[in-house]
C-alpha cells in the first residue's frame, strides 16, 4: 500500500514538474520566436496566465458527449505518453511507470491522443476542424513511418524495447549516444520529431491562414484549458522520449532541461525559417528522405 501511495506521489510530482516545464518551454520559445521577428515578445509567464484564463471562463458550450471526451482523450494521450517514459535515468521519482516493453506503449500513446481529438473535433461540427483532422491524421501516418523504422533500428541495435535499457546502453560518454552510434536512425527520428512538434513547415494542422487553428476551432473554456495542459505535457513528453532514445538520456534534471531545450530549438529554428508545406507535400517529404534513412538504419543493423 505504501508503495502504491509513494508511486502515486512520485507520479504526481513528476507530472507537475513536467507540466510546468512544458509551460516554461512554451514561454521561452515564444520569447525566442519573438526575437526572430524583431519583437520583445510576451512575458515568460504568459502561458500560465493563458491557461488560468481559459479555465476561468464563465461559460462553456458543449456539442455532445464526444466533444467532452475529445480533450480528455487528448490529455490521456499526453499523460500516457509521459507516464511510461523514464524522464531522468537513475532517479526513482522521475522513473515514472517504465517497464520492459514501454517503448511500444509510448508509440501507441503518441497516436492515441490524436485519434481521440479527431473524434472530439468532428463532433464540434466545424468544417475546418474536420479538414484539419484529416490533414493531421494523414501527416501523422506519414511521419510515423520513419519514426517506427528508427525505433526498430534502435531496438535491433540495443536488443531491447525498454527505454530504460536503451538509456542505460548509452551511458558512459558522449560517443555512446545513439546520435553517434546510429546517426541514420537518429536523423530519421529527428525528422519525425519535426513533424510531431508541428512547427513550420509541418504546421498544416493548425495552419492559421488555411484552417484557422484546425481541430480546436470549436473548443473553448475548460475544453481548451485541457488541451493547453496537454500541449505542455505532451510536448515535454515527446522531447524527453527523443532525448532518451537519441541523446543518451539525462541523469539529472538540468541535463534533461538542457537536452530537451536543444531538441525543441531544432523545431523552432526550422519553424521560423520555412513556410508551410501543403498536406501532400508534407506526406511526400516524410515518405522520402526520412523513410529511406530509417530503412537504411534498419538494414545496416540487420546485417
Amino acid at each position: 500500500m505504501a508503495d502504491i501511495l509513494r508511486t502515486a506521489l512520485y507520479l504526481f510530482i513528476s507530472v507537475f514538474v513536467i507540466l510546468n516545464y512544458g509551460l516554461l518551454l512554451n514561454g521561452l520559445v515564444r520569447k525566442i520566436v519573438a526575437r526572430a521577428h524583431g519583437r520583445v515578445g510576451p512575458p515568460i509567464w504568459q502561458p500560465w496566465l493563458d491557461i488560468l484564463k481559459t479555465y476561468a471562463k464563465r461559460s462553456a458550450i458543449s456539442h455532445g458527449v464526444m466533444f467532452f471526451l475529445g480533450p480528455i482523450f487528448r490529455l490521456a494521450g499526453g499523460l500516457g505518453t509521459y507516464l511510461f517514459i523514464p524522464a531522468i535515468y537513475g532517479s526513482v521519482m522521475f522513473a515514472n511507470l517504465s517497464f520492459s516493453g514501454d517503448l511500444l506503449l509510448v508509440m501507441y500513446f503518441i497516436f492515441f491522443g490524436q485519434l481521440g481529438m479527431a473524434l472530439g473535433a468532428g463532433e464540434g461540427g466545424h468544417p475546418n476542424s474536420a479538414i484539419a483532422v484529416g490533414r493531421g491524421l494523414s501527416q501523422m501516418t506519414s511521419f510515423e513511418l520513419p519514426f517506427a523504422l528508427s525505433v526498430i533500428a534502435l531496438a535491433i541495435q540495443y536488443h531491447s524495447l525498454s527505454i530504460t535499457e536503451i538509456v542505460a546502453a548509452q551511458q558512459g560518454g558522449i560517443l555512446n549516444w545513439t546520435i553517434f552510434t546510429n546517426p541514420l536512425a537518429t536523423f530519421a527520428g529527428l525528422f519525425a520529431l519535426l513533424g510531431m512538434n508541428m512547427h513550420s513547415p509541418f504546421d498544416i494542422v493548425l495552419a492559421p491562414q488555411e484552417v484557422p487553428i484546425g481541430p480546436p476551432t470549436e473548443m473553448q473554456s475548460s475544453f481548451l484549458g485541457i488541451l493547453q495542459t496537454n500541449r505542455a505535457i505532451f510536448l515535454s513528453a515527446k522531447l524527453v522520449l527523443f532525448m532518451n532514445l537519441y541523446l543518451g538520456g539525462a541523469t539529472n534534471i538540468f541535463a534533461m532541461m538542457l537536452k530537451t531545450f536543444m531538441l525543441y530549438m531544432l523545431s523552432v529554428v526550422v519553424g521560423v525559417s520555412f513556410p508551410r508545406f501543403r498536406t501532400e507535400q508534407s506526406i511526400r517529404f516524410f515518405l522520402g528522405v526520412p523513410t529511406l534513412l530509417g530503412l537504411a538504419a534498419v538494414i545496416i543493423f540487420m546485417l
Partner: protein, 210 residues
Amino acid sequence: MTKETKHNPSILENNGLPEFERDYFCDARPEQSRPLAKYIEKFLNWARANSLWLLGFGTGCGAVELRPLMTARYDMYRYGIAPRPTPRQSSVFIIGGYASVKTTKRIIRSYEQMQQPKFVIALGSCPINGGMYWDSYNTINRIDHYIPVDVYIAGCMPRPESIIAGFDLLKKLIKEGQAEGANKYIENLDWYKANQKKIIKDWNMPDYNW
C-alpha cells in the same frame, strides 16, 4: 449542435430560421453568469486582464492599425494580448472602425459565440457616432445599440499608441470587475435584439448563437 438540457420558461422564438433548422439551434435564453467569491474573482480577473485574446476579425479600416500593433514596432504581445482566429476562444472583440449592416450581422454572430466574460473595444469615431459616415445608408451610427461596448478609442484612425492605451483602460476595468458587458447584453437581450432586427432585414440566424 445539440440542445441544451436547461429549460427556461421564456424560450427564444428563433422565428427567423426555417422550420427544419430550428432543431439545430438551442432556443433557451442565455443566463447571466455570476462572479465567484470576492478574492477568487479578483485573482481570476487579474489573469483575464493579463491574457487578452482578441478576435482576428478586421471589421473595418481600423484593422489596418492592428497590423503595426501586432508587429515589432508596437508589439502588443508584450502586454499579453494575442490574436486568435476563432470567436470561441477569444475574449476581446475589436470593432475596427465603421460597421456596415452586412458586417454588423457577422459582428453580432461572432460576439454571441464568444464565451463569457467577453469584452468589446470600439476603434475610431465611426462606432461612436457614425464618424465620417454619419449620413451613410449602410453604416451603423452607434455600435452600443447592438452590442455592449467596454472601451471606446476615438480618432480616425486611432494610433497604435492609443489602442494600447485603450487596452490599458480595459485591463483596469477588468481588474475592477466593471467589464460585465456580457451580462449587460443578456440582461437587455430584448432591447438589443429589437435594435438588431431593425437594421438586419433578412434575419436568418438564431436569436442567440450558442
